[in-house]
Symmetry: C2
Subunit: 218 residues, 2 copies
């Protein structure tokens, strides 16, 4: 097979935790991609043009450099796709079905039960005077639950001693917790795993501060 003529494309924003998950998947799978920055703070995601790409007006959206060239959305569905199309390099799920279930449950506990409820669009609707309390409430409930799940599953990482999809959800949400002003050190397993992962090369490369659209004045 000759190398593809074009790079994959990721519609992303440095601060988005959902885009960050996919950046991690692309780094671990070793897929080069072109960054198309959609500035959520400037509401570049609210244009009619961008909503043709991502109908919720959210990031990420992804176009692979192999296959039919369709635009893909929903971060976890993109990670599943990357794992199915590149199964050999850095598998994101274990082999046993019950283990896979446990990894997906950890992933979705973060991606369905924490992140969406305290996302930028929800906090904006809640309003400036109440959004800090809101974010802290729902993130605290969520992190407590995830920490108790990790008591049963964690090794070096969220599930055993290999990096899985759950770690790709964990790290960005941990930063969301810090941004909301939570004392994350009370979650000792989450904190240990996050700190370990922050040292991994691919995680450094996917970090918000490493992105081409990271602003100079933050």
């Amino acid at each position: 097979m000759s190398p593809p003529e074009h790079k994959a494309v990721l519609y992303t924003f440095w601060r988005s935790s959902c885009a960050w998950r996919v950046r991690l998947g692309l780094q671990l799978k070793g897929i080069p991609y072109e960054t198309k920055s959609i500035n959520l703070l400037k509401e570049e995601n609210r244009t009619a043009e961008y909503k043709k790409i991502q109908p919720f007006g959210a990031v990420p959206a992804f176009i692979d450099n192999i296959g039919n060239g369709n635009i893909m959305i929903e971060s976890i569905a993109i990670l599943e796709y990357l794992d199915e199309t590149r199964p050999d390099k850095f598998p994101l799920l274990p082999k046993d079905p019950a283990d896979r279930q446990a990894v997906r449950a950890l992933t979705l506990a973060i991606a369905m039960d924490i992140q969406p409820v305290a996302s930028m669009r929800v906090l904006k609707y809640v309003g400036q005077d109440k959004q800090d309390e809101w974010a802290r409430h729902f993130m605290t409930v969520g992190f407590q639950a995830v920490e108790s799940m990790l008591e049963k599953t964690a090794g070096k990482y969220a599930f055993g001693d290999s990096i899985t999809m759950a770690d790709l959800a964990l790290v960005p949400q941990y930063t969301n917790g810090l941004r909301a002003g939570l004392d994350m050190s009370v979650y000792s397993i989450l904190s240990r795993i996050n700190n370990t992962l922050e040292q991994v090369e691919e995680f450094k490369a996917a970090h918000p501060t490493s992105q081409p659209d990271y602003p100079a004045d933050v």
Copy 2:
């Protein structure tokens, strides 16, 4: 292989849309199960005992009648597991990776971007005076986006002409929309698919009104 000695177990509540998704999976896969009803309206999900089963205090939770007997949580992760362990009967995902991505994107658009933001626990926190407006706002944004996704993917069902995981997310959320007082008929593809699926035997069996814990006085 001799038949398993015990039935699978589902912790469920008739009104929960997340439990409904798994009931649909169990019906389509033909897996007999025992219903353990957790009444969310009576806060039976808030007990310390139940939180040992499901740390968020949510339904569903599932114990299979094959395998290691572990408690599984997160509805979509359970559906993925059911599909991986019973791949031949009523596959919930197509075979092509890009098609699988599209089905999962539809599923998660509903399960991550609509349902959690207007769930019972969030609406309770929003408060009685504001929860109707809240639910209508976020569901309207979400259904508009999903309807535009369906313009590209729908056949008889959400993705082409076979029932997929996306349909298992669609039907319960459609009912949530009706409960929130939305005029769902404005979403013509969603409505057509929902009405078609309501006639399918397995969907009738998984419906809230068919459940053993459905109250007589509703």
